[in-house]
Structures are given as structure tokens and as C-alpha cells.
């Protein structure tokens, strides 16, 4: 059974370590916040200028001055702090954020990522994605293994315009957990019941398959 989006988020959440500062992108990455393991304290950064992002507010607590990078109304947690956008991207650029999780349209087996522009479609912009991928020490991509047409999103070369080069460290899809290594995608884990052959057939980039590929444990 391929993982659901929630399960992808849950698997990524198990990568979180106590004391991590984490930036979660829009989409599946946002869901990671729902699965932070007990006993693991992490602080969420929102690149518009907040450390210590809390859950969405109840209706009576909505503050229009308090939003996340997806422009959603949010709350703060104890010990949160606000800052301007230069400080925010400064801490990202300086490698102070321990983990960045973001979605992608394509990832290459060298760790390149494309997630901002489709030629021929209206381009809305890269927002903070290029800064995040160029600077973060540890980047995990959360995405479906294939696009709606069934084509692999794990390629030898990205075909879409790049967001960043050689930056992704790990990819978690509905089918597998893969590390980016000098030899290509290293297949670490597979979704329960999903075969290595299926993953191989849906991975267009170079795939390294170890002798043992355990199932993902959630």
C-alpha cells in the first residue's frame, strides 16, 4: 500500500530530533507538524519572520498580523520570537535551521530540485524556495513518487526549471524513502507491501538498491 500524504508526513516526522529548528513548506510538509514524536521538542520557523509557530488559531484568536509563509492565520508558542525578513533568511542562509521539508515537482538523482515553474503556465514566483534550498543544511523532499500522468518525478535530470542544485538530501514519497548519494537515489525503505520492482519501475533516475530494503515503519 502506498503511503497517504499524512503517512509521508508521519515518516518525515520521525527524522526530527529534539531541539531541531525546522522549516516546513506548503502542502505535505505542513502536515509534518501533526506527527512530531512525543518528547521531541522542535521549533518551527516561518520564513516571513517567526520562530515558534503554533497551530491554527481558534476563531476567537485570529490575528490578521499573525500569519505563516503560506499566508494562513496561525498562533505562536511559548518562547516565540518575531523578526524581519532579512533576519529570517539570514538565519536560513547561515545554516541555523536544522531541517527544511518541502514539496517538489521533480528531483534529480544528484539532488537537484524543481518546484517553482512550469513553462507555458502562469508563473507565480519562487517565494522563499530558492533561498531555502540553496542554504539549508538538511533538505527532505516530500512528494508523490509519480505525477498525475504516472510519470516518475525522480529523474536523472530535472526537466523543469530548477529551484536549486545538489541540495536535496532525502526524498520521502508515497512509495519509498530514498537518500541522495553520489551514486544516485539510494533506496532506504519501501512502503508496506510495495515491491522494490515497482519502485524501480517508477524511478527514472539512477536507483541504488541495497540487499535489504525494509518496509517503512510508522
Amino acid at each position: 500500500m502506498p503511503l497517504t500524504k499524512e503517512q509521508i508526513a508521519q515518516r518525515i516526522a520521525s527524522e526530527l530530533k529534539h531541539g531541531f529548528y525546522v522549516n516546513l513548506g506548503i502542502g505535505i510538509p505542513t502536515l509534518v507538524a501533526n506527527y512530531i514524536p512525543p518528547g521531541v521538542d522542535v521549533i518551527l520557523q516561518s520564513e516571513n519572520g517567526l520562530l515558534g509557530m503554533g497551530p491554527f488559531p481558534t476563531a476567537d484568536k485570529v490575528d490578521p498580523d499573525l500569519i505563516n509563509a503560506g499566508k494562513q492565520t496561525i498562533t505562536t508558542v511559548k518562547g516565540s520570537v518575531f523578526f524581519d525578513s532579512a533576519v529570517s533568511f539570514g538565519m536560513i542562509r547561515a545554516g541555523k535551521v536544522d531541517l527544511t521539508v518541502l514539496g517538489a515537482m521533480e528531483v534529480s538523482d544528484q539532488g537537484d530540485i524543481a518546484n517553482w515553474k512550469i513553462p507555458g503556465k502562469m508563473v507565480k514566483g519562487m517565494g522563499g524556495a530558492m533561498d531555502l534550498v540553496a542554504s539549508a543544511r538538511n533538505i527532505i523532499v516530500a512528494m508523490m513518487h509519480t505525477n498525475p500522468k504516472g510519470e516518475s518525478k525522480l529523474l536523472s535530470q530535472c526537466e523543469l526549471p530548477l529551484t536549486g542544485v545538489r541540495c536535496v538530501k532525502k526524498v520521502v514519497t508515497d512509495l519509498a524513502v530514498l537518500d541522495i548519494t553520489p551514486d544516485g537515489f539510494l533506496l532506504r525503505e519501501r512502503a508496506p507491501g510495495v515491491t522494490v520492482e515497482e519502485i524501480q519501475s517508477k524511478t527514472a533516475g539512477k536507483l541504488v538498491i541495497p540487499a535489504e530494503v525494509p518496509e517503512i515503519v510508522l
Binding site: 520564513e47 490578521p64 492565520t73 525578513s85 532579512a86 514566483g125 530558492m130 542544485v165
Partner: protein, 231 residues
């Protein structure tokens, strides 16, 4: 010394057609609502706007777009705006998309008198085209120039008569950076207080950067993505 002007009309009186403006805010959060309304009323055209976003169809910078007052947007993300898309596709509007951190840092560079900065954002992408790439300690960076804006228009929570500003929550965003960067900086604030009312340790923007200040009226503070937790 007193930097207080009567209101948005006086604050923007000398903004002319073709001016380059920085406009604070992230989405609709922390935008200078009063000054945007005054710019619409004044009808200045051919503006270049440096702002992270371009508002929505009927609010924020979208109001300037509706009146076709903007010639060029310099932004990191410009979705949620149908009129914007129409003008862009028809060629009436130019758009320069740049990474959000680069946008912030190019504002900061102007405020700090630094002509250019180096950032890794965009290396190896189409953002790097035509730019100097330079390697430091084995990592590649793009050289990006400081912005050069005629006016910066920002929104603060509190301000005093000397132009000292304090921002609230994530409505801070680009506002203090742009405040530092404008040749002329205009600040509209929710509450204007006498000089000496703000704790000198806790001011975000020193008044030296601010040339005109006024207490704005009728802030709508529209929310772009109301997201509620049912707890």
C-alpha cells in the same frame, strides 16, 4: 524636529509618474493601506513597485494594478490576482521575480550602504542568468545589487513624532528593511505617540530612516487565508 504629516495625501505629495516605490507587507499582512489608497486617488502611473507580493484583485497593490498605475513589479510571489495575470500576459505589466531572501537582503543592503551582497539563492537556476557567480570556501554565490528606491512606504504598529517605529507580529516582514532603504521613507502607523513614549531599547526602526509619519485610519487588515483550528 517633527516628522508628522497630516495624512497619506501629504505623505505622498511628491511621488510622481515613473517613481520606484518599495511597499512593505507580506501578502496583505502589514501593508500601508492608507498610502496605497492615496496613490490610487492621486493616480500616479508607470510605477515600479518593489514588494514581496502584488496584493489581491481588490486589495493591496491590486488596487494600483486595477487602475493600471504599475509598470513593473519586483516581487518573489505574485499569485492570487487575476487582473495581474491579464496585464502580464498582455504585456502591459513587467514582472521581475526574485527569491524572497534576495529581495529582503537587497533592501537591507540599501539600508546598510552596501552596494551588493552575495547569496547562494538561485545559483544554477535561471535566476543566475547574467549575474556574477563567485565561489567562497567552495560554495557558489550570486552577486546581487542593493535596491535603489525613490520612496519606501511602510506600515508600523506604533511610531513616534521622530519617526521611531515598532512593528507587531509577522506584520513586521519587509517593513523595517524597506524603511531603511528608501531615499524618502514614509511610515503610516496604527498609533502615533509623542517622542519619548517608546522604550529606546525596544524600537525596531530608528527614526533617522523615516522622513514622514502619520497615524493611519480605518485599517481593514484583510486576511488572505483565514485558517481556523476547531479545537
Amino acid at each position: 524636529m517633527n516628522k508628522v504629516v497630516t495624512g497619506p495625501d501629504e505623505a505622498i505629495f511628491d511621488i510622481k509618474d515613473g517613481a520606484t516605490l518599495m511597499l512593505g507587507g507580506f501578502g496583505l499582512c502589514g501593508i500601508p493601506e492608507n498610502c496605497i489608497a492615496a496613490l490610487v486617488k492621486k493616480g500616479v502611473k508607470e510605477l515600479t513597485c518593489i514588494s514581496n507580493n502584488a496584493g489581491v484583485d481588490d486589495f493591496g497593490i491590486g488596487l494600483l494594478l486595477q487602475q493600471k498605475q504599475v509598470r513593473k513589479m519586483i516581487s518573489s510571489y505574485v499569485g492570487e490576482n487575476a487582473e495581474f495575470e491579464r496585464q502580464l500576459l498582455s504585456g502591459e505589466l513587467l514582472v521581475e521575480l526574485i527569491p524572497q531572501g534576495t529581495l529582503a537582503t537587497r533592501c537591507m543592503a540599501a539600508g546598510y550602504g552596501m552596494p551588493a551582497i552575495y547569496t547562494p539563492a538561485g545559483v544554477g537556476t535561471e535566476v543566475a542568468i547574467g549575474k556574477e557567480v563567485r565561489s567562497f570556501s567552495g560554495k557558489e554565490y550570486l552577486m546581487e545589487y542593493a535596491f535603489d528606491a525613490d520612496f519606501a512606504i511602510v506600515k508600523a504598529w506604533k511610531g513616534d513624532t521622530l519617526g521611531n517605529l515598532i512593528f507587531h507580529a509577522t506584520a513586521r516582514n519587509f517593513n523595517p528593511l524597506m524603511a531603511m532603504a528608501g531615499k524618502i521613507t514614509i511610515a503610516e502607523v496604527e498609533e502615533l505617540v509623542p517622542a519619548g513614549s517608546l522604550d529606546p531599547d525596544l524600537i525596531h526602526t530608528p527614526g533617522i530612516y523615516v522622513h514622514r509619519i502619520f497615524e493611519g485610519k480605518n485599517y481593514e487588515k484583510r486576511i488572505e487565508q483565514l485558517t481556523i483550528s476547531h479545537a
